[in-house]
Amino acid sequence: MPNREQLKQRALKAVNKPAAIGTDIDLGQFDQSPVEHRPLGHDELLSLPAIEKQRLLMAGIDVTESERSGTYIQKDTSVVRCGTKQEGIEVLPIKKALEKYDWIWDYYWKLVAVDADKYTAAVELNLHDGYVIRALPGAKSIYPVQACLYLDKQNLQQNVHNIIIAEEDSELHIITGCSTSPHMTRGAHVGISEFFVKKNAKLSFTMIHNWAEDMAVRPRSVARVEEGGLFLNNYVCMKPVRSLQMYPTTHLVGDNAVARFYSIIVGSPGSEYDVGGRVYLKKPGTRAEIVARTISNGGKIIARGHLIGEVPDIKAHLECKGLILNGGIIHAIPELEGHADGVEMSHEAAVGKIAAEEIAYLMSRGLSEDEATATIVRGFLSVDIPGLPPQLKAEIDRAVEQSDKTVM
């Protein structure tokens, strides 16, 4: 562990440093002490209580593991299941990786700064665990790898650090769900994620959040995409959360690298979501697209997007559409920054309501007003995501379907 001590020193200096944006969370109010849970076998996973299985399912986790290449489940601070079924795809807990492998030090805290804010500092100073998922060169995941960060203990602050590596020419699909026990209402989740997409690799990362009403959530993630690589990042959050703030950043550092971000957020009353995506286009031929669909159902949503074109011959587009259905606030902040001649960047932002004309049109085909509204909302939230495996498309559709009841 060559520089762990240095990292800790830097983290210590940042323990009280507020984040650049978002409500400041008093981390002192949460408990960070470890909570032991024993590992679960495949059969035990299958025989979990129905209500817990449902929570996992809603976060995209298939307990049968049949259409998954690998599984990582962390309950509170303990890894309860971790393994892979496919050659060339590795899934391991980060604490184990830090103990056993030197290569992890080429990735650990290489993209996210340990002293970025008090949340990054907290994770380094009291790391619970997290996953390392790696596709070896040329490996292609047949089924997605699933990862779940589950909170069970009331008032716990879960600190995780994840590293995802798609080696050259590999193809890796990950679905990650965050969820809480039915009885849990209050807690915090702080998660660091560092993504490495190497030459000509393809990584899709689909995250579904199912938090409890009184949760504070502060993910911190940065991705680096090399020449010809593709990073597809999908985010779905349909459930209430006290305060969620994240601004994942991607650096396109190789020629023709591509990043595409899609997010679908339904904001419930009493919830605050400050989410966005930021992409630096640093090499010719790079492309970026950020698409956000937000519905406020009484919550507050800040939808950010920031595209930075540093060289000529890049192309980037930002699309942010919001519907206010039952009160609340949607604040769209699209930003474009061109630093050279020959950049091609655009954005489209709209915040509004459902057009009466569309409702009437559907009613004239026989739908009731409520059915017509639901159909339009479902359509609004259904974004075509090219390159997403069918299982993951199905998970997103399921999460959206489920939200119908909340939205209406």
Partner: protein, 255 residues
């Protein structure tokens, strides 16, 4: 049967339809002529039940039910359907889903229906998203085929349709309105015709549709008033020779 009696309609506080009387019997198709802004689309939207078209007098009866103040979807359930001239785009709703919505509880072969209007390549596209004028007409016809209403309202079904598709559109409308019927071994032509139930009201500017649909009656709507009711070909000929100016004279004579 559709029966409209002394109908008066306002749009945004302005009277746009006055003293409309109209009767369409089962099996009948009427053609609605009139210059731009005369109220043709407004009449169709009022029959369909768009709430911004406020009925201030008279009534609309359909199949013996007073539908004057029924919401749109209940009129649709009673058997009224419309092919729009400029329908809205519904993002994220695919055309094939829309066809299923139109069919409600009935089983339909979406692909087979789409083939009939040469629209199979559009089924995975969002409804009306980026459709050309002609594509919109075919999409609307596809939806009506699935919906299969008894009274069909067509708002300029041939406008923007290219020569190649005009006969396809015309024949599809004729079939929907049971205007293409043939006698069978058991039933004579007269019997088949008498058993027709579908009713149609078609807005046209060019009259091209008359080449495909054997319409029963023509009506001219001028300045919110139905001013003429005659053989549709006769009306078309009159309008093309003398223009709508003549309608003004007829109207004055009527009063």
């Amino acid at each position: 049967m559709l029966l409209i009696e002394d109908l008066e309609v306002e749009l945004a506080g302005k009277k746009i339809l006055k003293h409309i009387d109209l009767e369409i019997k089962p099996g009948e198709t009427h053609i609605l002529f009139g210059p731009n802004g005369s109220g043709k689309t407004s009449l169709l939207m009022t029959i369909m039940g768009y709430p911004q078209y406020k009925v201030t007098g008279g009534k609309i009866m359909f199949k013996g039910v007073d539908i004057t103040h029924l919401p749109i979807n209940e009129r649709a359930k009673l058997g009224i359907g419309m092919a729009y001239q400029r329908p809205p785009t519904i993002h994220g709703v695919k055309t094939h889903q829309m066809v299923k919505i139109c069919a409600q509880d009935r089983e339909v072969d979406v692909l087979e229906l789409a083939r009939r209007v040469n629209f199979q390549d559009f089924l995975d596209r969002d409804v009306n998203a980026g459709f050309s004028g002609g594509e919109i007409k075919r999409s609307e016809l596809l939806q009506l085929m699935a919906q299969n209403p008894d009274l069909m309202l067509f708002d300029e079904p041939e406008s923007g349709v290219d020569m190649e598709n005009i006969s396809l559109v015309g024949q599809t409308i004729a079939r929907l309105l049971q205007k293409e019927c043939t006698p069978t071994d058991i039933k004579s032509m007269l019997q088949v015709k008498r058993e027709r139930t579908k009713m149609g009201l078609i807005i046209t500017h060019t009259g091209h549709i008359l080449e495909y649909v054997n319409a029963d009656k023509g009506q001219v709507l001028f300045d919110g008033v139905l001013s003429c009711s005659d053989n549709p070909r006769g009306i078309l000929q009159c309008i093309s020779e003398m223009g709508y100016e003549e309608c003004v004279r007829c109207q004055i004579a009527n009063n």
